[in-house]
Amino acid sequence: MPTYDQAAFIRRAVESLCAQTVTDWELIIIDDGSPADTARAIEPLLSDARLSYVRLAENRGHAAAINEGLRRARAPIIAYLPSDDVYHPEHLATLLTTLATHPEAVLAYAGVRYHYNRYTEGLIEGYCLQPVQVAHRRGVERWTEREELVSDDHERIFWAKLRPRGTFVGSGQISCEWVRHPGQLHRLIREQDGGGINPFRARFNIAHPLRFHSSHGNFIDEVTHYRRYRERPDTPLAVDGLKILLVGELAYNADRVLALEERGHQLYGLWTNRPAWFNTVGPLPFGHVTDLSRQDWRDAARRIRPDIIYAQLNWQTVEFCHAVLQANPGIPFVWHFKEGPFICIEHGLWPHLLELYERADGQIYSSPELYNWFETTAPGLTRRVPSLVLDGDLPKAEWLRPLASERLSQRDGAIHTVVPGRPIGLHPHTVGELAAQRIHLHFYGDFTQGLWKSWIEKAHAVADGHLHLHGNVDQDRWSAEFSQYDAGWLHFFASRNGGDLRRVDWDDLNYPARIATMALAGLPLIQQDNGEAVVASQNLARQHDIGLFVRDMADLRQQLCDAPRMERLRANMVRVREQFTFDYHADRLIAFFRTVLEAKT
């Protein structure tokens, strides 16, 4: 029984073991560094000599705790009872019988109740074998630990290692419950359940970089990706360096903040308590940022005396940043917001969002259009204190890499476009229209593809070989990979605001994250021609002359075939691509901070 912070659950689990019809067992509880209440909950039960309890001094992860238990186990058969699950009384008896009648089997598994009122006699659809179901013959195999790989897929972490020793056989009897609750480990790992690398990191406060691969997500290798940062020493605080307290979450291109640290400023972090998987929070895997605890950050701030709070970024952290604003003991406060005002209105967060801008000492808007739009919501708002326009989630300049030496189209004479993320606005029939114009579409990202399965099926049916799927590409390969294409897709939508700022929606105001991705690859941007409508991405592409504005797919083909114009667009993008890195703006941002500090005093 590995356990971490489940004092409220563990008695029920142990009680269900004590009620087994089979009594010839030992229970080895490995407490993976839980708070003291787990030990208190267990203590009254320890009079039963079959129970042993070991507490690891610090949290080492589910697999390490199990391995500690395996090391101590004396019985020939190993069963698992996660501390939030429940056996029915005949569970162990059934599994023992199954193993006894199948000498060729290494592992037996029971049927299981799950999701409160569902039942299966074997595997739960969409999930691997769950530990509560399993008993296996003891061996030398060990679970892959957190330092090596994090996954909710136990097959990969352990079960597969047993397979060479024999078969897996089901009892066919439902004799245990995989108890559903939001704190389950697999839900903390799986993105579609509200988990992911950031919720996982935050829950266990893991300071080291992770290799993380949920059963449906992209593989994330922070160890390799961030080595360059971690292996260098901290930059010493410059003479006029600022102490900057980052508050909230850093989203996709989190390492950008190192551009501030590299310039001799000191970074601290105070992170939102409920991140979504893409809301990057500390402990940051690239290092050089000191975290403050949410409980007593004000005491820490009194000691550290930060010059400025830089609070950001998306709607998931509005509530948290607002709470920090209210508790702020007077540190100059800059609020930088990206996505998005309308989802805040929908979720009832609008009063807090508006107040963040109203009470901040400095305001940063992620596009000129967002700046203008906020001004209509409370006339005078943007002129109250110093303000700045800067996209909130630009990548670090490290990822500005050499471009591919050749485009696919130069090789095969066809036209190749790329969509590095959700193909928003490209319906399956649009893919058919592209195919009719002999335009190829390359769709990247295994996680996104998993969510767009039925789209892919329908699009393939009409694509006539023009739809191509590719795995996820990390920042280090953006330039080389995406520069093989002729152009890349932004969200494809028809704006309906008719040029009136009051009628915009998020598509109109947003700079999608992929703009920078494609900019780093020197790739012209494709979007619908939205004429006189207020559309931030259209204005940006016009300003730098880096975009194709298309009416339909025939029009797109014509524009893509205009070789001199495409050459010019590419050249423009290559010329300005540095502006799509955060580093390009770092000095301007610091200058803005100093303006805010001056205005405040």
């Binding site: 029920r12 009254p44 029915h88 609750h181 309308f342 209105i345 929908e346 967060l349 209509t376 929606d505």
Partner: protein, 635 residues
């Protein structure tokens, strides 16, 4: 009042309450209108935020007028105030969270100017963030077709017009009802339809405004699952004697005055030697039971859950003498200052976070925790650790049945001390509804079998089989009928399903005692007699048991054999249950008139045990015990 000749062309009426974060954007959109010939009349319905200060800054624009109500009166009353002040030839509306596009007023006015026979002009609107059309409901296709025709037309039935999209002639200004007369999400469309019914309407043909969709909007308080009467009352700060006739288009309806007026008795409390009890949480379906404490001389205060469910009741309530401590900064100090003798924390999982918060504030006041539903939903919502903390931190725990208590003892071992527990259903009705207005059985008149279900008809399928067995079913409550359209269709066709409007507690006996028996949730238990495998259906005592008891009705339930089922145990103990295996079996049992008479007599004899009043003294004794223990510890 100025004459129409000197007034502006258009009076824009803006009722507002608590919209400081929205109102500037709204007014900005008015100031940006292409026409300037308007006046804005803001009626601030006693906003608790900085609305007044924000508007004071805008009053330099002479076209703005600002009136503030001393107390919140509701949308209808605010519009009555605004209408009386209007001087324009036409009246338009701009709720303080909505938006006009620049041509909006000009386009509406030009329709009314050009066509004297048109009484009401309306524009198209954006709604639901990204939808747009002539009406905020694309299911009324005939209206959309008339609108698209471009001709003046008869909007004779209550189409869903929103205030923001409408302009009408001032002489046809409607009368707005007060909230005590009627409150509904359909209020604006119904009242505007009265104008439309008097003559022709005309669609401008353009989308020129937005009915802003946001989490806190009035229509969501009225008719969205995130709203409900209790949230409405709390949001508008309603208190004693503020009555609402609650008639949303969806969800339960209630005229508060009809149901609760009898409980609005002023009392000087506490009487000597009686307790001061702080209610903490929410009350469920039978909230007026708390008056039973006051009738015995005890004084009540309350800290209510901030976000009660649609069906649930939390205060402020319009009856009784409950002192409300607002859930806002400073509640801790307010409780300490009020010095209650005991905290009575209740009732369902929705109250757990609040109870946990109060417990962890360590006020030194003993807390008795009364828990109904339920352990499994706590697992689902991540509240299990919270529940365990509350069970551990409370001075005594009240479970709704022995089965519930025993389940918790299995799950938590010696954390549950049986000596500190008490068994009592948490949501029993007030005894006042248990009157003697017995009705004659319908079956005596027609020789048929008549059964009743005044709630969700769970498991009554296939209905054809029930009808074939000759069993009539009477289903009460529009909101439940809406939940099961297929069953209603099939049932009505069979001639054995009969629909009735919801029945108020005052009518329980007279209305429901005319039936032979009443349905519980029909389900098959699969715990095999093992409490560890129980589900909520196995542990629950549904709220409708109290209703059935009042009307002396035997309970119809599926025979779950040796499974551990709390309501089956209770039915056996009282001998009030019809346990059946199939519909034919049930029909046979229902035709056994002698047995039915015995079950009915048993239920009538035991019905007082289903009133809260019967148990108040035992509850008070429990309170006194934990108070005495606390004092012992302190001394």
């Amino acid at each position: 009042m100025s004459s129409p000749l000197t007034g502006p062309l258009i009076s824009v009426l803006m009722p507002t309450y608590g919209h400081a974060a929205f109102i500037r954007r709204t007014i900005e959109s008015l100031i940006a209108q292409s026409t300037g010939d308007w006046e804005l009349i803001v009626v601030d319905d006693a906003s608790p935020d900085e609305t007044g200060a924000l508007l004071a800054r805008l009053l330099a624009d002479g076209r703005l007028r600002y009136v503030r109500h001393v107390r919140n009166t509701g949308l209808g009353a605010a519009l009555t105030t605004a209408t009386a002040l209007a001087r324009g030839r036409y009246i338009a509306y701009l709720p303080s969270d909505d938006l006009f596009y620049p041509q909006h007023l000009a386009e509406l006015a030009s329709v009314l100017e050009a066509q004297p026979q048109v009484l009401l002009a309306y524009s198209g609107l954006r709604y639901g963030y990204q939808q747009a059309g002539p009406l905020a409901d694309d299911t009324v296709s005939d209206a959309v077709r008339s609108a698209a025709s471009g001709e003046p037309h008869d909007l004779g039935r209550p189409y869903p017009l929103k205030l923001v999209q409408v302009m009408h002639r001032r002489e046809h200004a409607p009368r707005w009802p007060t909230r005590a007369e009627r409150e509904s999400d359909a209020l604006e469309s119904d009242v505007l339809a009265e104008i439309a019914a008097k003559g022709l309407s005309h669609y401008t043909g353009a989308i020129s405004c937005e009915w802003l969709d946001h989490a806190g909007q009035r229509s969501k308080l009225l008719a969205h699952r995130s709203g409900g009467l209790s949230r409405y009352r709390a949001y508008y700060g309603l208190g004693r004697d503020d009555w609402v006739n609650w008639q949303p288009t969806r969800g339960p309806r209630q005229d508060e005055r009809t149901r609760y007026a009898a409980f609005a008795i002023e009392r000087a409390l506490p009487e000597p030697g009686r307790l001061h009890i702080l209610l903490l949480g929410e009350l469920g379906f039978n909230p007026e039971r708390i008056v039973a404490f006051e009738e015995r001389g005890h004084r009540l205060s309350a800290l209510w859950v901030p976000r009660p469910e649609l069906w649930d009741t939390a205060g402020p309530v319009p009856y009784g003498n409950v002192t409300v401590i607002p859930y806002a900064h400073g509640w801790r100090e307010q409780i300490l200052a009020a010095r209650p003798d005991v905290i009575y924390a209740l009732l369902n999982w929705q109250a757990l976070n609040l109870i946990d918060e109060v417990l962890s504030a360590d006020l030194g006041i003993p807390l008795v925790f009364h828990f109904k539903e339920g352990p499994f939903i706590c697992y689902e919502h991540g509240l299990w650790p919270t529940l365990v903390r509350v069970l551990r931190g409370s001075a005594a725990q009240i479970f709704i049945s022995v089965e519930n208590r025993d389940w918790f003892r299995l799950a938590l071992g010696d954390l549950i001390d049986p000596a500190r527990t008490h068994i009592l259903d948490g949501d029993l009705p007030k005894a006042d509804w248990f009157n003697d207005g017995w009705a004659t059985k319908l079956s005596e008149a027609d020789g048929q079998i008549h059964t009743v279900v005044p709630g969700r008809p769970l498991g009554l399928a296939p209905f054809s089989a029930i009808a074939a067995a000759g069993i009539h079913v009477h289903l009460y409550g529009e909101q439940f009928q809406q939940m099961v359209p297929n069953l209603v269709r099939e049932g009505l066709a069979s001639g054995h399903l009969h629909l009735h409007p919801a029945v108020e507690p005052a009518q329980w006996v007279r209305e429901l005692s005319s039936y032979d028996a009443a349905w519980l949730h029909l389900y098959r238990s699969d715990n095999g007699g093992d409490l560890r495998r129980a589900r909520w259906d196995d542990l629950n005592l549904p709220a409708r048991l109290g209703t059935y008891a009042a009307a002396g009705l035997p309970w119809i339930m599926r025979d779950n054999g040796d499974a551990m089922v709390a309501q089956q145990q209770l039915a056996a103990q009282l001998d009030v249950g019809l346990r059946f295996s199939d519909w034919e079996d049930l029909a046979t049992q229902l035709r056994d008139r002698r047995r039915l008479a015995r079950l009915t007599a048993n239920m009538r004899a035991a019905r007082h045990t289903f009133t809260f009043d019967t148990h108040v003294d035992a509850l008070i004794a429990l309170f006194r015990r934990v108070i005495a223990e606390k004092q012992e510890v302190l001394s």
